[in-house]
Symmetry: C2
Subunit: 142 residues, 2 copies
């Protein structure tokens, strides 16, 4: 596993010791080709499948928040009370299927905004977040 060293570096850079639990979390989050979108709950379920001994909630929150602070994960704005995270921390936007709670990235280069409105007085733009909500094509319009 050549990712091992990579993940250990990531943990150390986040001020975390590379424990068995954290390495398992890293593997789930970062050793994949595609961007990964998840809630803590989903991450917990995947972790429970992948390893024998369980990982506690406290450890999951602890590790995810450390990665978020370090800029390795990003929180996504969505309705509802669950927090979604994204392993893609670059500026980009999302497709979101509310029925399945599935998120998919839109690459930033593929989309742009015209007629940007005037920013309120004394404020500057920090980030623009676009969410395109989608639904199945075959079901009746609401």
């Amino acid at each position: 596993m050549e990712h091992l060293k990579f993940n250990i570096e990531k943990l150390r850079a986040s001020g975390l010791r590379p424990t068995r639990q954290r390495l398992a979390i890293c593997k789930i989050l970062f050793n994949r080709k595609e961007t990964f979108h998840f809630t803590i709950d989903q991450l917990k379920k995947i972790a429970e499948k992948n390893i024998k001994k369980k990982i506690s909630l406290a450890t999951l929150y602890n590790t995810v928040h450390a990665f978020e602070k370090k800029g390795y994960l990003k929180e996504i704005s969505l309705k509802g009370n669950k927090t979604f995270f994204d392993t893609n921390t670059k500026n980009h936007h999302h497709f979101y299927d509310e029925e399945t709670s599935q998120l998919a990235d839109i690459k930033n280069e593929n989309i742009s905004i015209s007629n940007l409105p005037k920013i309120p007085n004394g404020k500057k733009i920090k980030e623009i977040e676009i969410t395109i909500k989608v639904a199945n094509n075959n079901q009746k319009q609401n």
Copy 2:
């Protein structure tokens, strides 16, 4: 108060009897020129200032959800675990100041998207939501 009849209609259309509590909520939500953005918590505080007898949380949630179902209020996608509502239910977008949790509407006509990406297979667009996060201009860049 000429809004009285208007609010009573709104309540009846939502399947709700026009009680004193609900009329007070309607007055806060709908009898204003500008769009109103709020959390249940904020609404509760305003209600407590405006009327003598308190309004219970249960009544606030009940009424707000009835209005949402009826299409008189709309939930907004944002980070964090508090639910934000908007009295503007038309398609539109927002400025959001995370420091103050203040939302402001962007009129839909003022903004548009170009180079819309391909929609995933079998899906159709339901809604596009743009959030422009702003910060104070005078503080140091993060």
